[in-house]
Structure formats: structure tokens, C-alpha cells
């Protein structure tokens, strides 16, 4: 295989702990009540199309994304809408959501539920983009950016390569791995659909080298598809970051403050490619996804295909129940996931996994003075100086922080992970990004 490709700046190697890598995808039973937030994507929330008391079917449009960067929401369950109300979201704040009492499992007629594998792509480029828009497909890598917007190349830019992110660099998470292994053909067709939608002839699927079975499986399948190459990548966090992935696969660096289309690339998650297959070939909107439930104390870690809106508590029950020594609940992976306040929150389009950390793993390292060892500088994949940015955020020196490119930070957490003094670097940088972002927005308004 030779030397594996990777990105050149920074990176760390947290222990992989892929406890559920060999667990096949299990389909979750339907919940009794589903909580479907109106806003499950980056951008504006959807406008409700149904109201209290309405009977709805699986796949029915229940919220319409009307702004440019917005997405439709379809019902993942059938039953009666109990209310459209503010429901607690993972951070403890309230967001509007549909609460549905689940009755049966009736689907909208237009969805093709047969298991038949359809390889031929019958739709044109424009039809593909419209279909993806209508069926509410968003990026399943975690950022939940509306996928149809990514396919609409702005004036003056050309797309050359489609890059599929099969990296899954976060420790513990294995959802993408299982999708690549079990739904490989569908992923390949989904990739071809995205290629057609984008108007490119070349696609690269980047997979980290700790998923050798997925690499060989997809490499075998790629022989039957035109223009798709599989690119094994060195195991390094954050290889799955958009800019790092583009640098590793096609050796181009996205300039600061610009989008990947600047260098002719568009990146989509492998789960999104699968959802695109189901949308375009089967007319199925985004109503379910694979979620990994994992953790060292979890008795039956696994990967579950769950409907959007299923309370997380039910998935944890299926994985063996909440362990007694649980210290932290994390939505996502340990490096970039959000700490949840309780299990009373639902699965949303962006939920890639739930990680349960033990009590002894949950406390932070004691904070000491910064010893200016500059390890954070050496691991930052964007070439920033986290120790300086954190100091500026603490001291409220927003102008200096902006000059030192705080807005380039991708919040990967490598700096915080490496710091020998246990300083909460990313916390301060996030605060700084928040304030500097506000300042920039206010400047734009003037």
C-alpha cells in the first residue's frame, strides 16, 4: 500500500475504542411517542405544515424549509400530532418540536419500500437536486448542512471532484463503518447520484485505515462504477474534517474563510450518500438513520437504525440500559460531541451516536498555568496558536483574536486534548468565536 495519505498540519491520536465496529446494524422498534424538532439543520427552521390533532403518515411533509439555507422535515412515524410545542433539547434550552403519539406504521404511498437494489439513475441533474431538496436530505456527518445547497454550485466556481467522507475519525463511533460494510452498493449508487447532481466525473471516497474491511469491500465494488476511487487514509484525528480531508485526498488547501467549492471540491458524508440513494431511487425522505450506542460500561454496544424522533432513552435501553457508573452522556463522539443533560432528548438528523462515559472518565484534568510548551500549536490542524487565542478570549481582546484567525478554528479539540496543563483551551476559543462572530455580523449590518 505504500505510505498512506494524510493532512500535513497537526493532528492527534486519541485511542480508537471502536467497541461496536463488528456489530451489525439492528433495526430499532418504533417508539410510543416521537419528538421531532422543527430545526434539524444548519440554517433556518422549517415552517410547520401540520397542527395539533392531525393524523400523519410516515414520510409526510410536516415542516417546510422556506429560506434558502433550510430543509424540509418529514414525519418518521405515523400517528396523531399531540402538540407543536417547545421541547427541551440536549443543551437544556427549549426548541419547537412536534410531539406525536405513534399509532401503527403507515407510510405515504409514493415511497418504494421494496428491498430491490436499483442501480440505474433515471433522473436528470436538476431533478436530482430538486428531489434531494424535497426529501429533506441534510449532511449526516453532524453539521446537518442542507445537501441540495451544496450541490448548487455558485456563479463563477466549478466543481471538479466529489469527496465522500467515510473517515469517521471520532473514537467510539462506528455508524458510518457499518453503513459502508452493509450498504456498500447503495453507497456507491448514492455517490454516482451525487456526482451526476454536481456535474462531476470523479469521486474519491476517503476511508481511514482502521476500517480495512470497508476499504476492501468498497474497492471491490468500485470496479463496477465509473469514476469512483477509494482512498485509504492514515488514522489521525481530525482526518474527517472537511478541509483536512480535501487536503489529504486531492492535495488542495481551502483558503481561510472560504468554502471547499473554492478548490473545486464538494464533501459529503457516506451516510448522506446512502440517504441520497434512498431518496432518489426509492423516493424515501430522511426519516431514519444509523446511530451508535457505545461506551466502556455499556453492556451491549451496537449500531441501531432508529427513526428520527425516537427518545435516546429507548436506544440506550436496547443497548443494555444506562450503566450505574455513568458520568457523562455525549451526543456524538468524545472529541466534538455535546454533553447531554439527560436521556429525555430525541434522535435528530445529526445524531451519529451516543457515548456514555464512566464516572472516572468524566472529570476533567486539573487546570494549571500555561507552560507555553506550544504542543497545542503543533497539533492544531488549521495552523493556529490556541494558547494565544484562549488568552485573548479570556482577556476580551477581540480585535487581536480576529487578527490571529480565531474564526478559522474548526473546534476539533486537538489543542485541549494535548495540553499538559489541562487548560480548557477550546472552551475559551469557542467563547471568543461567539463574540468575534457577533462583532463581524454587527460590522456587516452597518
Amino acid at each position: 500500500m505504500g505510505i498512506l495519505k494524510t493532512f500535513s498540519l497537526g493532528g492527534v491520536h486519541p485511542p480508537e475504542n471502536k467497541l461496536s465496529a463488528d456489530k451489525a446494524i439492528e433495526v430499532m422498534p418504533l417508539p410510543k411517542q416521537a419528538f421531532i424538532p422543527l430545526n434539524q439543520n444548519l440554517g433556518a427552521p422549517g415552517v410547520p405544515q401540520v397542527q395539533k390533532g392531525d393524523e400523519i403518515k410516515v414520510g409526510q411533509l410536516i415542516a417546510k424549509g422556506e429560506a434558502f439555507i433550510s430543509s424540509n422535515v418529514h414525519s418518521p412515524v405515523s400517528g396523531k400530532v399531540l402538540k407543536v410545542d417547545n421541547v427541551v433539547d440536549p443543551s437544556g434550552y427549549k426548541r419547537p418540536a412536534f410531539v406525536v403519539n405513534v399509532e401503527g406504521d403507515e407510510w405515504v404511498e409514493s415511497i418504494d419500500r421494496s428491498p430491490e437494489f436499483i442501480k440505474e439513475i433515471k433522473l436528470s441533474q436538476k431533478e436530482i437536486i430538486d428531489k434531494i431538496h424535497d426529501l429533506g436530505i441534510v449532511g449526516l456527518g453532524g453539521a446537518t448542512f442542507p445537501s441540495h445547497v451544496k450541490l448548487m454550485v455558485p456563479e463563477g466556481k466549478t466543481a471538479e471532484v466529489l469527496i465522500i467522507n467515510g473517515v469517521e475519525c471520532e473514537p467510539y463511533l462506528t455508524a458510518d463503518h457499518r453503513v459502508m460494510l452493509e450498504k456498500g452498493d447503495e453507497v456507491m449508487v448514492g455517490t454516482s447520484i451525487l456526482m451526476k447532481g454536481l456535474g462531476v466525473k470523479r469521486a474519491v471516497i476517503g476511508i481511514e485505515n482502521n476500517k480495512k474491511d470497508a476499504i476492501s469491500h468498497l474497492t471491490e465494488l468500485a470496479k463496477n462504477y465509473e469514476g469512483i476511487e477509494i482512498c485509504p487514509l492514515k488514522v489521525k484525528y481530525p482526518q474527517g474534517g472537511e478541509k483536512q480531508l480535501i487536503k489529504a485526498t486531492i492535495k488542495r488547501e481551502v483558503p481561510s474563510g472560504k468554502l471547499p467549492i473554492e478548490v473545486g471540491a464538494v464533501v459529503n458524508n457516506v451516510g448522506t450518500a446512502f440517504a441520497v440513494y434512498e431518496a432518489v431511487q426509492k423516493n424515501k425522505p430522511l426519516i431514519e438513520r444509523v446511530v451508535t450506542i457505545t461506551g466502556k460500561s455499556v453492556s451491549k454496544p451496537g449500531n441501531f437504525m432508529a427513526r428520527i424522533g425516537t427518545p435516546i432513552a429507548e436506544l440506550v435501553e436496547k443497548a443494555g440500559g444506562l450503566p450505574d457508573d455513568s458520568g457523562k452522556l455525549i451526543g456524538g463522539g468524545p472529541m466534538m460531541g455535546k454533553a447531554l443533560l439527560s436521556l429525555d432528548t430525541p434522535i435528530v438528523k445529526g445524531s451519529s451516536g451516543i457515548l456514555i462515559l464512566r464516572e472516572d472518565e468524566s472529570k476533567r484534568v486539573e487546570m494549571k498555568n500555561c507552560i507555553r510548551c506550544a504542543r497545542c500549536v503543533s497539533v492544531c490542524p488549521m495552523g493556529l496558536e490556541p494558547l494565544l487565542l484562549a488568552q485573548q478570549s479570556e482577556g476580551e481582546m477581540w480585535d487581536d483574536a480576529e487578527k490571529d484567525r480565531i474564526m478559522d478554528c474548526i473546534e476539533c479539540g486537538s489543542c485541549h486534548y494535548t495540553c499538559p496543563s489541562g487548560r480548557p483551551l477550546l472552551d475559551y476559543i469557542r467563547l471568543g468565536k461567539n463574540k468575534v462572530g457577533q462583532i463581524i455580523r454587527n460590522r456587516g449590518k452597518k
Partner: protein, 301 residues
């Protein structure tokens, strides 16, 4: 020896002459009144007047007096009426007496009232915690207890009470407004100090409906509207499930506080009420008793 004396001496004299002419040439002409006004100011440079520093405030007052013949809208909260009347005297103007104000913390979500549901682990700054999650007690509008307000105070007037986890304002407060700006949840407000230091306010900024609000905190305002009905002076408004007492209209009649079912309305520094026969309310017990205790606590500060 004599040569060195002459040479050094002449260099010195030449330098002095040059400096004198340069000082005259580049002299900045300033209205002497600015110095006089600055003299009268407390020199705290706290920014409470809205200007960066006492010198700038002095310049603003002189300019305003010169241009518009009044200094309305310009007030030094630290110096208060004494200082402003002095400033007015220097400028030859009349000034209106402004009522003294004080910072009021409008949250009573102590550890007892809003029990801890999760543990926070991270930097001790409210700004960050506010962005991260709702709060240890669960209320998304309540005090986070990490002390950004305490850190912002230049007058040693606000401190964290370790038992309740809430900030407490003492007499040193000059209503400069720094803590108001520092609080990311707008819990602190500047209100009139009131005669004999007495004031009434709703100690809650929760905008949730009654059910969720009470789930998180026992003394939350549930927006029931009883106080609004009781008030004869139209001082209370209910908006977004939250009652608000307008301190300009409030006459301190104390009729609203006892009708609040969750004890969310606080009366500060009033004498204890005569105990009435217990009323049938959700709270159950005499409304006067728990408030008397609170008053004791606050009086000690």
C-alpha cells in the same frame, strides 16, 4: 575642567530654550472648566456615565453646557446628586435631582429552590456556561452562579453567597451598570433604591410557562397574573409568562407580594407585617413568615 562646565552648561541652556518654544508652539488650548469639572468628579473611571473615563465625561459636560446650555442626560452615578450639583455650579447651570439607583439581582434560584440536576465542569465564567447549556438547576433563564457580575464590579459591591449560589448586592453599589452588562442572561437590573432603601421587584426572569418553570425552580414566576390584578397603580405587566414591576410606577404599597403563589415577589427592607390568619393558597402557609426571614438576611448585607 572649565571647558566641560561651559559645554555641558550651554547644552543644558540650549535644550531648555528649545523645550520652552516647542511647549508654547504645541500647546493644547483647553477650556479650563474641563479641569475644574474633572476635579469635582470621583475619579473612579468606571464608565458608569457611559463615557470612557472621568476626563471624557468632563469634556462632554462642558461641551454640552456650551452648545446646548444644559447637561441633561449626563449623570455621574458614582458621585450622585452631590457631584452633579457641584458640576452644575461650575458650569453655571441648574441640575435636576436624580433618584439614586441600585443593582438588583432578579433571580432567587438558589441551590435550595432550584436543586442541582447536573454538575458543571469547565471555566468559571457565565458567558461560556450560558452558551453551553441551560444551567445546573435546569432553568434556562436563571443565574448560573459563576460570577461574571462579581468580576466586573469595580466597587466591591456584589459578592457570591456560597450557600445559595446567587450574587448579593451591598450598599457600596453606585449603579454604574457594569454587572448589568456582564450578566449574559440580563438578570441584573438597575432600579430605584427607594426611600429608606425599600424596593419591591419580581425576583424571576423566567419566560417559560408555569409547568416547566416550576419543575425547575420552586420560586419561579409562573405568569398567573394575580399580582397584576392586585396592583392599583398599573405598575405590573405580564409578558411572556413573566410579571414585571415598573419601578417608576410602583408606590411600594406591598399589596402584590402576599398574593404571589410562588413567593416570587420580594420586598426589601420593610418592617415585618402583622401576621394575618392563613389564607387558602397554593403556598399553604402564612406568606409573611418566609419573607421576614429573607428580609433579615438581606438586612445583614
Amino acid at each position: 575642567m572649565i571647558y566641560s562646565v561651559i559645554s555641558i552648561g550651554s547644552i543644558g541652556i540650549a535644550a531648555a530654550v528649545i523645550l520652552y518654544f516647542v511647549a508654547q508652539r504645541f500647546k493644547v488650548i483647553e477650556d479650563p472648566k474641563i479641569d475644574e469639572v474633572e476635579e469635582a468628579l470621583p475619579a473612579a473611571n468606571c464608565g458608569g456615565c457611559g463615557y470612557p473615563g472621568c476626563r471624557n465625561f468632563a469634556e462632554a459636560t462642558v461641551k454640552s453646557a456650551h452648545d446646548s446650555k444644559h447637561i441633561e442626560g449626563l449623570n455621574c452615578p458614582v458621585g450622585g446628586n452631590d457631584v452633579m450639583s457641584q458640576v452644575a455650579a461650575i458650569l453655571g447651570l441648574e441640575v435636576e435631582e436624580s433618584k439614586p439607583m441600585i443593582a438588583v439581582v432578579r433571580c432567587n434560584g438558589s441551590r435550595e429552590n432550584s436543586p442541582q440536576k447536573v454538575q458543571y465542569d469547565g471555566p468559571a465564567t457565565c458567558a461560556f456556561a450560558h452558551n453551553l447549556y441551560s444551567g445546573e438547576g435546569g432553568c434556562p433563564h436563571g443565574c448560573l452562579g459563576l460570577g461574571d457580575c462579581v468580576a466586573s464590579c469595580a466597587f466591591d459591591a456584589i459578592h457570591m453567597d456560597p450557600e445559595t449560589g446567587l450574587p448579593v448586592v451591598n450598599d457600596k453599589c453606585v449603579a454604574c451598570g457594569a454587572c448589568v452588562k456582564a450578566c449574559p442572561r440580563n438578570i441584573i437590573e438597575l432600579r430605584f433604591k427607594g426611600p429608606k432603601d425599600r424596593r419591591i421587584f419580581v425576583s424571576c426572569v423566567n419566560k417559560e410557562k408555569g409547568g416547566p418553570a416550576k419543575k425547575n425552580c420552586a420560586v419561579a414566576c409562573i405568569g398567573c397574573g394575580k399580582c397584576e390584578k392586585e396592583c392599583k397603580f398599573d405598575a405590573i405587566t405580564i409578558e411572556n409568562n413573566l410579571a414585571y414591576i415598573d419601578h417608576e410606577k410602583c408606590k411600594l404599597c406591598r399589596k402584590c407580594a402576599p398574593v404571589c403563589p410562588t413567593n416570587a415577589i420580594h420586598e426589601l427592607h420593610f418592617p415585618p407585617k402583622k401576621v394575618r390568619p392563613p389564607r387558602e393558597e397554593e403556598a399553604g402557609t402564612e406568606p409573611a413568615a418566609p419573607k421576614a426571614e429573607k428580609k433579615e438576611e438581606k438586612k445583614e448585607e
